[in-house]
């Protein structure tokens, strides 16, 4: 018996396949792109290939994320908040708070026994999301994935006075042209984002253990800045982008097992890996 979680985020589509003992069979990440309606099947195909499985071998499929309604072969849609909570607590059973910093929004989740009990999120202003780092890195002409490591070399943090991402883009270029060191500017940018995310998390209340996920969790400089802002220990999964897909796969398994145990028939969708159409 095999289960799949498909997480269609604003920038990345993630698929995870697990068996009934939660063993990971494959994990695939691909860019969502503007045609995310049509790409879920492609990423799914790759995941099946990696696990040497056929689509008919999958007992139950859960889709999550911003594009979850565009996965025609998924049996059930579950919000990314619930899937994140489930994914995080399967990796860190003691997790009580999770902060997910993505490219388009930042979510703080309160978790109890693997279940989501409360959350706050920012999807209104780019300054509190990964987009802030993405755009300032672009303005400074450096690769997003190098940002964190470079910032760790800083000997001081330059205060970034603009809140708005667009104004900050201008500010960092001006700072660079005034001779400030790149690493010090980057340390300032990370500190600025961390303090905004920390303020959001405090609104929810932080209880240990605290887990950081989302693409931004791969940024070493950001993990350091978050630790400093929150003044507490922070756990980061090996694959922080995949917790949503993992949670979706586990929830797929749990939904299926529960139905089997209770002898209920569980409706499933057609397993044909076709492109989604506008009407599906």
């Amino acid at each position: 018996m095999y289960f799949a979680g498909v997480d269609i985020g604003s920038t990345m589509t993630k698929v995870m396949l697990i068996d009934k003992s939660d063993n990971l069979l494959s994990a695939i990440k691909g860019p969502t792109g503007p045609e995310h309606r049509q790409l879920a099947n492609e990423v799914m195909r790759q995941a099946l290939e990696q696990a040497s499985l056929q689509i008919d071998d999958i007992s139950y499929i859960v889709a999550t994320g911003y594009g979850r309604l565009n996965v025609p072969f998924a049996d059930r849609q579950i919000t990314e908040l619930s899937c994140h909570a489930r994914g995080v607590s399967s990796l860190f059973p003691n997790a009580r708070t999770a902060i997910d910093i993505g490219g388009q929004d930042t979510k703080c989740l309160k978790i109890d026994n693997g279940k989501l009990i409360n959350f706050v999120m920012n999807d209104k202003c780019a300054a509190g999301t990964g987009r802030f780092l993405e755009l300032t890195a672009a303005a400074l002409g450096i690769e997003l994935q190098d940002m964190g490591d470079i910032s760790l070399k800083a000997d001081k943090k330059i205060q970034i006075s603009n809140l708005c991402t667009i104004f900050a883009q201008q500010e960092v270029v001006a700072l660079l042209s005034h001779g400030e060191k790149l690493e010090n500017i980057l340390a300032g940018l990370h500190a600025a984002l961390a303090s905004r995310v920390a303020a959001l998390a405090r609104r929810l209340g932080i209880e240990p253990d605290l887990v950081l996920t989302g693409g931004v969790a791969k940024n070493t400089g950001m993990v350091k800045a978050m630790k400093e802002s929150l003044d507490c220990e922070l756990f980061v999964p090996e694959e922080p982008l995949l917790t949503g897909a993992l949670g979706a796969a586990i929830l797929a398994k749990e939904t299926y097992m529960k139905a089997v145990a209770e002898g209920e028939a569980l409706p499933t969708k057609s397993r044909r890996l076709e492109k989604a159409t506008f009407f599906s």
């Binding site: 503007p34 999807d123 202003c125 991402t165």
Partner: protein, 260 residues
């Protein structure tokens, strides 16, 4: 009779006005670029060329705006709030409120008589509340800033942006373009979003009529109309809205020279 220059170095555009005593006689607007010092010099050179004078004929020069420090030949710096108030008082002596929509900020100033500042509020934290939002979306739509207003005026069904953030607004505009939404509806949506932010700023310090509008944003005729609708008033619009603050700086130059 004496000559005075006011120079306003903004984050996007640099503006200059030359006055004969208190009367504006010539103006010049250029893109600020990376070197504000060069921009300030270029404006002075062009202004005195337009009126056939030399540098020595200028009695006094006052600088204002974010880059005022770079106008090394100015005798003093003045606050942009004060300069906008004085400039608008020169253009519209009857104005009691002025909205200045600039690239990096939006200011609303309440005026007492003689162009004195009674109260003001500034929105400078968020590009979604300033003219920058228009610049960002004009770039997505690949249209000139000067076409933004006329294009937007043609829309009957403006889109509604889901956030006020200019960064997310940019992504949203790209999505709408790919969905085939007409450019004018997207442009009108930007004006609607910006007008609503500007109107709440005006309401914060209470509108006293008549109200004038200046800054580069006032060149966007559809934005002006949308703000008029939101505030239920008719706005006084100068034919040269971008140079009002520079004009105020020139008047400040003239005032301080006269009082000495």
């Amino acid at each position: 009779m004496s000559w005075f220059i006011g120079i306003d170095i903004g984050s996007a555009y640099s503006k200059g006005v030359i006055t004969k005593d208190f009367e504006p006689v010539a103006s010049h607007v250029i893109i600020s670029g990376a070197n504000y010092r060069t921009s300030a010099e270029a404006i002075r050179t062009e202004l005195i060329r337009q009126v056939n004078l030399s540098q020595d004929d200028i009695t006094n020069t006052v600088a204002t705006g974010a880059g005022a420090d770079n106008v090394y030949f100015a005798s003093q710096k003045a606050s942009d709030i004060v300069c906008t108030a004085r400039g608008i008082n020169n253009a519209f002596p009857q104005a009691r409120t002025v909205i200045d929509v600039a690239s990096q900020s939006t200011k609303v100033i309440r005026l007492s008589g003689e162009g004195k500042v009674a109260n003001f509020t500034v929105s400078e934290k968020c590009a979604g509340g300033s003219g920058r939002f228009i610049e960002v979306i004009a770039n997505v739509l690949r249209i000139n800033l000067s076409d933004f207003g006329p294009l937007s005026a043609r829309s009957r069904t403006p889109i509604t942006f889901s956030t006020g953030c200019a960064v997310f607004g940019e992504s949203e505009a790209i999505t709408r373009v790919s969905e085939g939404i007409p450019k004018e509806d997207i442009a009108a949506g930007v004006n609607k979003a910006l007008a609503s932010k500007i109107s709440s700023l005006v309401k914060k310090i209470k509108l006293e009529e008549p109200c004038a509008i200046c800054g580069g944003g006032a060149l966007n005729i559809a934005l002006v109309k949308t703000i008029e609708g939101e505030l239920n008033t008719t706005l006084l619009v100068s034919p040269y809205p971008q140079i009002i603050t520079a004009l105020g700086a020139a008047i400040t130059a003239a005032t301080s020279a006269t009082s000495e």
